[in-house]
């Protein structure tokens, strides 16, 4: 029996994977889309379909996130507008690079290598952040001060009294857009730190603006890939079915668990994703099935491990249990 052309097993896999990713997205506010494209690549989907479907999934998930944030007034529309225009142009550029590389037969290799590098870099930075004290805040504030002191017109005043060069905002958005279109990711994991640490935007406004912006750029990204039939709609539909529920579970968990308690797991998940993509590529090139299996286990295992840690930590808080073995493991 098949539903929308997918076997029941695959439907269960996509809904279950969406649930895990949604839980992570709801809890961390980012990282949800980052596993979808590598997972589809690992499952054998062509790179353009993996990237296009990743962007369509990002769009659907961020619509749900934006609906939840709309009443909180945490959006700077001026910042969102500049970022959206810049990222839209960037996505178009990134997409052209993917199609060009596909024509030369190098798309899979370069996208995979880029994923490995970026996942590893963000994973290591997150790990360092998880292990470090609060000293980083000062460094980040210094960076934002320096960026705000650059007066390239037009200067723009953002919510929270932040005044930054519109040209710099545009340049940041353009670079993130190229990466977003090239890798099929929403850009949230790059945009949010860039707004908070680079531009000095308050965290709550950065999150709200980020989600609105990702919704718009995700829609545009999905549209451009769908024009060439590179969106696997049944896959996106079943992923969303799971992620919409997971996002509620993850968001609920944020009221109970401190993000810093889980950050080490999140970093480990990004690093596992990096190793998985590398392992898959090597397995394919050298015909070693064991490496392909390892890759699949790492991607799904890491998402399962971290989302389980989030849920378990929340249950421990609900029960006021800080001494049980499992509770100590997830919240230490």
């Amino acid at each position: 029996m098949a539903i929308l052309g997918l076997s029941l097993t695959m439907v269960a896999v996509f809904v279950g994977f969406g649930l895990l990713i949604g839980t992570l997205f709801g809890f961390f506010g980012m990282g949800g889309s980052f596993l979808v494209t590598p997972a589809l690549l690992v499952m054998g989907y062509p790179s353009t379909v993996a990237v296009g479907s990743g962007l369509a999934f990002v769009f659907g998930t961020s619509v749900i996130g934006a609906l939840r944030h709309r009443d909180h007034g945490q959006v700077d529309y001026k910042l969102a507008a500049i970022m959206t225009i810049a990222m839209t142009l960037g996505i178009e550029g990134g997409k052209s690079v993917v199609f060009f590389l596909e024509a030369t037969g190098m798309a899979d290799l370069i996208i995979n290598v880029s994923y490995v590098g970026l996942l590893a870099a963000v994973g290591l930075l997150t790990l360092r952040d998880a292990w470090s004290d609060d000293d980083d805040t000062e460094t980040s504030s210094d960076l934002a001060d320096r960026v705000q002191s650059i007066h390239i017109p037009p200067m723009v005043t953002l919510r929270g009294g932040v005044r930054v060069s519109g040209t710099i905002i545009f340049a940041v958005g353009l670079v993130i857009g190229v990466l977003s279109g090239f890798l099929g990711v929403g850009g949230g994991f790059l945009l949010m730190p860039a707004m908070m640490y680079g531009l000095g935007v308050p965290a709550a406004i950065a999150v709200g603006t980020d989600i609105l912006q990702i919704t718009i750029s995700g829609a545009f990204g999905a549209f451009t890939y769908a024009q060439s039939g590179s969106v696997a709609l049944p896959v996106v539909a079943f992923l969303l079915l799971g992620s919409a529920l997971g996002a509620r579970i993850g968001a609920g968990a944020t009221n109970l668990v401190d993000e810093d308690e889980i950050k080490g797991y999140f970093a480990a998940m990004l690093l596992a994703g990096s190793v998985a993509v590398a392992s898959n590529k090597l397995g394919t090139v050298y015909g070693i099935d064991l490496l392909n299996t390892l890759s699949t286990v790492l991607i799904f295992g890491a998402a399962l491990l971290v989302s389980s840690a989030v849920v378990l930590a929340a249950i421990c808080r609900l029960r006021n249990d800080r001494t049980g073995t499992w509770c100590q493991l997830t919240t230490s």
Binding site: L4, I64, L233, A237, L241, A244, R248, L318
Partner: protein
């Protein structure tokens, strides 16, 4: 499969984005309703009450 395979590229893309948007709205409403209906009971049960 979704009945728009014969549409032009742009029309097919608009339909794809529209379907994803409609599903996201529907899921937001459906899970919101589910959450309001059984959310408190589930949280109580998980909390051991």
């Amino acid at each position: 499969m979704f009945g728009f395979e014969n549409l032009s590229g742009s029309a097919q893309a608009i339909a794809t984005v529209g379907i994803v948007l409609a599903e996201a709205f529907a899921l937001y409403l459906a899970y919101g309703l589910l959450s309001n209906t059984v959310g408190a009971t589930v949280v109580d049960a998980l909390g051991g009450n």
